[in-house]
């Protein structure tokens, strides 16, 4: 049989389906007409021969052999009506798979036979090349410009600290005022009564400077101070003569 003339070089096969396809091809040109039973016989004989030659067959070849042996027996034995799977369908399925593999192999060959770029047809050997030069289109708005100028000016303008004009009472003024007022008091008077009228700011300044003035006058012995407790009213009077 022609099948036996196939060499047993397993490196040449792309798996059991490929081997089956080659065997089928040796049987008939049209895969639709092949005898699955004969194909199974060919395959099993091939595997048997490989075994006798002590060639190591990959597992999937053996799996295929077992499946084909099962298929063969199913096809030969009288069929049980309820038997699943249907052996005819199994055979048909195998045939369809072989057809599809054959079709794709044919397509591969036809692709490879086309005029291929770089092998049969050639692009220009030395194209000048096309360059895309990116050109920036700079954008800025007038606002960006003037606010930038404002920013620079603000940043670099000489810094000038303007002190807000505030009403204060100097120590000299306080000394004078307290010295003058204390002489007109008969009894102890709270320090607040020595302060001038005016804004709160002025009164606070006057309180501070009057306090210092009172301390200075007390040091000179020109006033007496009395305070009952911390933060109690600070009382002042002219020392008894």
């Amino acid at each position: 049989m022609t099948g036996e003339q196939l060499t047993l070089d397993l490196d040449g096969w792309e798996g059991p389906l490929d081997l089956l396809l080659s065997l089928a091809r040796s049987q008939k040109v049209d895969l639709r007409q092949i005898s699955i039973l004969a194909l199974v016989e060919q395959y099993l004989r091939f595997v048997d021969k490989a075994g006798r030659m002590q060639l190591e067959l990959a597992a999937d070849y053996l799996v295929m052999a077992a499946w084909l042996a099962y298929l063969k027996s199913s096809l030969l034995l009288p069929r049980q009506p309820e038997e699943e799977p249907d052996p005819e369908e199994m055979a048909l399925r195998l045939q369809l798979r072989l057809e599809r593999l054959a079709a794709m192999r044919e397509c591969g060959a036809r692709l490879m036979a086309r005029d291929r770029l770089g092998r049969d047809v050639f692009p220009r050997g030395a194209p000048e090349g096309l360059a895309v030069q990116r050109k920036a289109m700079w954008q800025a708005e007038l606002y960006d410009l003037i606010s930038a100028y404002g920013r620079i000016n603000a940043r670099t303008r000489p810094v000038m600290h303007v002190v807000v004009d505030r009403q204060v009472m100097t120590l000299e003024a306080a000394l004078e005022r307290v010295s003058m007022l204390v002489g007109s008091r008969i009894d102890w008077s709270a320090i607040e009564t020595f302060l001038p009228d005016g804004s709160e700011r002025l009164r606070r300044s006057a309180l501070a400077s009057s306090f210092l003035a009172v301390l200075e006058l007390a040091r000179q012995g020109k006033v007496e101070l009395r305070q009952a407790a911390p933060f109690a009213p600070l009382l002042i009077r002219q020392p008894a003569p």
């Binding site: 792309e14 798996g15 059991p16 389906l17 490929d18 999937d60 799996v63 295929m64 499946w67 699943e84 799977p85 249907d86 369908e89 199994m90 048909l92 399925r93 369809l96 798979r97 057809e99 599809r100 593999l101 079709a103 794709m104 192999r105 044919e106 397509c107 591969g108 060959a109 036809r110 692709l111 490879m112 086309r114 005029d115 291929r116 770029l117 770089g118 092998r119 049969d120 047809v121 050639f122 692009p123 220009r124 194209p127 000048e128 090349g129 096309l130």
Partner: protein, 204 residues
């Protein structure tokens, strides 16, 4: 070659200078005629006709155009060029399956070939720039699927995938359908009372 239209001239120069096939849009961007590009297409058609029968020809690959040498002169040009690396049988078959049935998953390729594909096979095709991953199939496991590239069309001289040799015949013969689908079809036609379910049963 007689009087020549300025746009035809410009398109010719740009395509000659380009190291790669060019789309109508990129040609127009260089040639600089505005509008809808109808004039570029007209120029391409003129060029195609003018170069017909010459040593070089204008061809369309996918939606891109380029000049190449005439195929019948291959023998003059092939000398002193090293033959491109030969593809293995596995790679050729895998490429054919992807091209004719794209997008396909690795498992689908293996089902058709009846054998596992080694990792290197797909790598070789991707390295050649002919095949690319094209997303995932929305089935359990979400397998990667593969498709061909514009470079594939270019290399094999195809205007589009529809130009694949024999594609229509294969489709008409149902040879691009999976076995299960083919069986179902046959069941419907030939054996009206066969149970298509049984076909599901024995995958090997």
């Amino acid at each position: 070659m007689t009087e020549i239209d300025p746009i035809v001239r410009a398109v010719e120069a740009v395509l000659f200078a380009s190291p790669e096939p060019m789309s109508v849009d990129s040609i127009r961007a260089h040639v600089g005629v505005g509008k809808g590009g109808g004039d570029i297409r007209a120029a391409l058609e003129q060029l195609e006709a003018q170069y017909r029968g010459r040593g070089i020809m204008l061809v369309r690959r996918g939606d891109r155009w380029h000049f190449q040498t005439a195929p019948d002169l291959a023998h003059l040009l092939r000398r002193d060029r090293e033959e491109a690396r030969r593809l293995s049988r596995a790679a050729i078959e895998t490429l054919a399956i992807i091209a004719y049935q794209e997008p396909v998953s690795r498992a689908e390729i293996e089902a058709i070939r009846g054998v596992a594909i080694s990792k290197g096979t797909l790598d070789v095709l991707m390295e050649a720039g002919w095949v690319r991953p094209a997303g995932r199939r929305e089935v359990p496991g979400r397998p990667l699927i593969y498709a061909t590239t514009p470079a594939f069309l270019q290399h094999f001289g195809l205007t589009s995938r529809r130009d694949l040799p024999g594609l229509e015949d294969l489709r008409a013969a149902g040879l691009l359908d999976p076995v299960d689908l083919a069986l179902e079809r046959m069941g419907e036609e030939d054996m009206p009372d066969a149970s298509p379910d049984s076909s599901e049963e024995e995958r090997d």
